[in-house]
């Protein structure tokens, strides 16, 4: 009997230890971002050469210390990150890029960038997750890509 109680106690402890805190309702309600935010994340380039555009993106990201995490040429996706350690906190700036044909005949390419800051404490627990919303970061990146590529849609700036 004592052995049974001990085993029940171990099982209960395991279950409690595993209990996952349910997410708050606000985390499960998805809403579209604003048109302004979407515009900030997007730049249209007057080229249908997505390979060259993605190459220019990679060059700019590398120049800023980012390392590629994932890439899919067919979908025009690049995910890159830049890690840093600040005391006991580890931080990551993640850039996710997606290039897609746009324009009436698909002769232009739309490039959409999202920048995200993440941080973890010494125990590996996530302590920060936030979108970068400073417009200058996005505009600066798009301008550098345009210079790298030598192409920019007239009037897009």
């Amino acid at each position: 009997m004592r052995q049974l109680l001990l085993l029940v106690s171990i099982a209960a402890s395991s279950a409690l230890g595993c209990a996952v805190v349910p997410p708050p309702p606000s985390a499960l309600t998805l809403a579209p971002i604003s048109a302004d935010e979407r515009a900030q994340q997007t730049r249209v380039y007057a080229t249908e050469d997505r390979t060259a555009l993605l190459g220019a993106c990679v060059a700019v990201l590398r120049r800023h210390g980012f390392a590629a995490e994932d890439q899919d040429a067919e979908l025009g996706v690049i995910v890159a990150a830049k890690d840093a350690t600040d005391g006991r906190e580890r931080t990551r700036l993640r850039a996710s890029l997606a290039a897609a044909p746009t324009g009436e005949f698909g002769l232009e390419t739309s490039l959409r960038l999202t920048l995200q800051r993440l941080a973890w404490n010494a125990r590996g627990r996530e302590t920060k997750r936030e979108a970068v919303r400073e417009g200058g970061e996005y505009a600066g990146f798009f301008d550098e890509v345009a210079r790298e590529l030598g192409v920019l849609r007239p009037g897009a700036e």
Partner: protein, 139 residues
């Protein structure tokens, strides 16, 4: 008294616990694979161009405030997590069912633990369907 069933229950609880906490310390597992045992919800849509449908799915995720973590056109798998505040991640699969139909499935997890709540998947499908069938532009 035979304690084998209880021991097996403990092992199962620990195994499930391990699955729910499979993330590495820096969350990098997210880039590779969906959460084990995730509940997926699937829908079919009329869409003759698979690559276009996958691109629309990427744009839909971005419009809902997600950042892409990985994309694989060949497998049709997109993984994205919320940009802000909550560690909510969606694993979206877009594959061809036949020449005119695609199958889309969504699995959600929160902080690495599979979500039974279908709200995020429903929100994605609603936005995705609207993006696949935009209203005609007015002249």
């Amino acid at each position: 008294m035979n304690a084998a069933p209880l021991v097996a229950s403990c092992a199962l609880a620990l195994a499930l616990c391990g699955a729910a906490r499979a993330d590495s310390a820096d969350g990098s597992r997210a880039a590779a694979e969906p959460t084990p045992g995730s509940l997926a919800v699937a829908h079919e849509f009329a869409a003759p161009d698979l690559l276009h449908a996958q691109r629309i799915a990427i744009a839909t995720l971005q419009d809902l405030g997600f950042a892409l973590e990985s994309a694989d056109a060949e497998r049709g798998v997109l993984i994205a997590s919320l940009l802000d505040a909550h560690p909510l991640r969606l694993t979206v699969s877009i594959t061809a069912k036949d020449d005119a139909t695609i199958s889309a499935s969504v699995a959600s997890d929160y902080a690495g633990a599979s979500l039974a709540n279908l709200g995020p998947a429903a929100a994605f499908f609603s936005a995705y369907e609207a993006a696949l069938n935009p209203p005609p532009e007015l002249d």
